[in-house]
């Protein structure tokens, strides 16, 4: 039997044990860990997923695993949140009551703005903080010997046959970090340090991967951002048109008009790009692979490549990528797991300094 002796490289352990702390301090520490789980501890592999997932990924969890983000990346998502919140606050303070109290039925436009703004915020939060479709680690561990050495065969690209109606065979690859044979269309994100199902890209603006489980929210976020910008534009234009005085009487309306005009374009271009991508049944990663990663995918013409995942028609492809059910979370941050779960063990020899002793 083999025993594992671990030499800890951490100067201070982050584990929380009841014996070391009095009751009050123990509960306080538990509460703070529930509030924000910044990093994992290889010695703690028990309890809920949010405590153990940081052992093997770059995720940070909030409120007991209800929300997540990625550590070490620039917090651009805070800027996006500001861009979403700012016009609503200004509109509510300076514009709403003026449009609401008119006799011409502009109330509908006000309600529509708030509705689409709420969808924008909700879908942004869900895109940025939910599980994009993370795949579990170490499921396809080959052997224990030589510090879990990966067999030579696992370094090969494997070609497997597909259905007779599909033109090409499929190639699959073993992820040496996650120790799994990756399913088609999934890939390893080096920022999050996880493999993601139907991986589209890692979005720096939401600081999360866009994958099978949050692609729908991402598209809804882009579309609702475009629609709420257009409605904001219309609302401010109506206010300006109805005012009899000069620009000095409606400075916020002019500001919001310009703001909506500017914030409309980026999500609109991105959404159009994703419609074409989804319509040709391609993920951003697959598209980039085709055109070469140096080019900006948004400003490159989307062409229909020979694609084994193609559903035949543009609408079918569009519906499939946009409407596909999310499916279950395979590495749930909220679910309890058993002690010593292999999914949350970092077996990478470069980081763990583990030594196998044969008896």
């Amino acid at each position: 039997m083999a025993l594992v002796s671990r030499r800890s490289t951490r100067s201070e352990s982050t584990s929380i044990s009841k014996e070391e702390h009095p009751e009050g301090a123990y509960l306080t520490k538990l509460f703070f860990r529930w509030l924000v789980t910044l990093e994992g501890d290889q010695d703690i592999n028990d309890g809920k997923g949010y405590i153990s997932i940081p052992n093997v990924s770059n995720y940070i969890f909030f409120l007991g695993g209800r929300f997540r983000t990625v550590k070490g990346a620039k917090p651009l998502w805070l800027g996006v949140l500001f861009v979403i919140l700012c016009p609503m606050v200004l509109f509510s303070i300076f514009e709403t009551h003026k449009l609401w109290h008119t006799r011409n039925g502009y109330k509908v436009l006000v309600i529509l703005f708030y509705y689409f703004w709420a969808i924008t915020l909700a879908s942004f939060i869900r895109t940025a903080t939910s599980d994009p479709g993370v795949l579990p680690r170490n499921i396809h561990l080959g052997q224990l010997r030589n510090n879990y050495q990966i067999p030579q065969e696992y370094y090969n690209l494997i070609t497997l046959p597909t259905h007779s109606s599909v033109s090409k065979d499929i190639t699959i690859k073993y992820c040496q970090s996650c120790r799994i044979w990756r399913p088609p269309r999934s890939s390893h994100c080096s920022t999050c340090n996880v493999c993601v199902m139907v991986h589209d890209h890692h979005c720096i603006w939401v600081n999360n991967c866009i994958g099978k489980r949050n692609y729908r929210f991402f598209l809804v976020f882009l579309l609702s951002a475009v629609i709420s910008s257009i409605i904001l534009l219309a609302n401010c234009a109506i206010h300006i048109a109805r005012e009899s005085g000069g620009p000095g009487h409606y400075p916020v309306a002019i500001l919001l008009l310009c703001y909506a005009g500017l914030t409309l374009w980026y999500p609109a271009i991105l959404f159009t790009y994703h419609v074409f991508m989804a319509g040709t049944q391609q993920t951003t990663r697959e598209f980039l692979k085709g055109i070469g990663s140096k080019k900006n995918p948004v400003f490159h013409r989307v062409t229909k490549e020979q694609n084994i995942f193609d559903k035949g028609s543009f609408l079918n492809n569009l519906g499939y990528l946009m409407l596909k059910p999310r499916g279950p979370s395979f590495v749930s941050a909220r679910k309890q797991h058993e002690a010593g779960d292999w999914r949350f063990m970092d077996l990478s020899p470069a980081h763990s300094f583990e030594k196998i002793q044969e008896i």
Binding site: M1, I139, R145, E153, T159, S165, I170, E358
Partner: protein, 238 residues
């Protein structure tokens, strides 16, 4: 000994369609022969390489007794039996060792035949793609179980335009996304517990009276393995 993997690679280069095999298996030539006590590992020729068909049980903690006495046989995903298998996980319905490009041993005995010991713990492996699962389940029993699992997975994930998915979409639009986020999981657990039927089926197989329980085998819930492979926990072969 037939080197089927090599044959498969050759066929790919000549433009023919690839042949399916269990890509989890790998071979190893430096091992201890079975039968002689205190045998030292020796190098073996190409025809007598061990074929590793069962793996550490990653569903039990490393120090646990279950980990010591059990192994996992992995049934891979297969992409050639239906078009939908490219998108929805569908597993091979052939027992490991029966696949078109499986490594066939020259031993005429049926089932799993051990040749040598390998890996930490000295586990027994054979020289063909046949796994210890063949000692517990017949090809027909195995195919029936995998077909049912495949069917449940298709029913859950394949229905993009099914009523449940469409209703969730409409409710999401009406509630601004709150339905699937907060309201739905609180109000209606079965609607959001997609794999409830599959979970029940697996639990029935593994519980007393179930086929697998009687054979001393356990099927791992596909959700637990991320649908990456269909894993059977089998007793450690001796």
């Amino acid at each position: 000994m037939c080197t089927s993997h090599q044959r498969e690679e050759d066929s790919a280069t000549t433009g023919e369609r690839a042949l399916f095999f269990n890509y989890h298996e790998f071979s190893y030539s430096f091992y201890e022969d079975l039968g002689s006590k205190n045998a030292k590992p020796t190098e073996h020729d190409e025809d007598h390489k061990l074929c590793i068909t069962h793996f550490p049980n990653v569903y039990a903690a490393r120090g646990s007794s279950e980990f010591q006495v059990t192994r996992v046989v992995r049934v891979p995903r297969r992409f050639d039996e239906s078009r939908s298998s490219l998108d929805t996980p569908q597993f091979s319905t052939q027992l490991p060792g029966d696949e078109p490009a499986a490594i066939v041993g020259d031993d005429e005995r049926s089932g799993f035949v051990g040749f040598g010991r390998y890996d930490t713990g000295g586990h027994v492996f054979g020289c063909s793609s046949v796994s210890p699962l063949s000692d517990h389940l017949s090809a027909a029993e195995f195919a029936e179980i995998v077909c049912r699992v495949n069917e449940f997975l298709l029913r859950e994930e394949g229905c993009v335009y099914g009523w449940r998915n469409m209703c969730c979409l409409v409710l999401d639009i009406l509630t601004g996304g709150l339905w699937s986020w907060v309201l739905g999981p609180l109000l209606s657990r079965p609607v959001f517990q997609e794999s409830l039927v599959l979970e029940q089926y697996v639990a029935q197989l593994n519980s007393p009276g179930g086929l697998l329980y009687e054979r001393g085998v356990r099927l791992v819930l596909p959700r637990r393995s991320g649908c990456l492979s269909l894993d059977f926990v089998v007793p450690r072969p001796e």
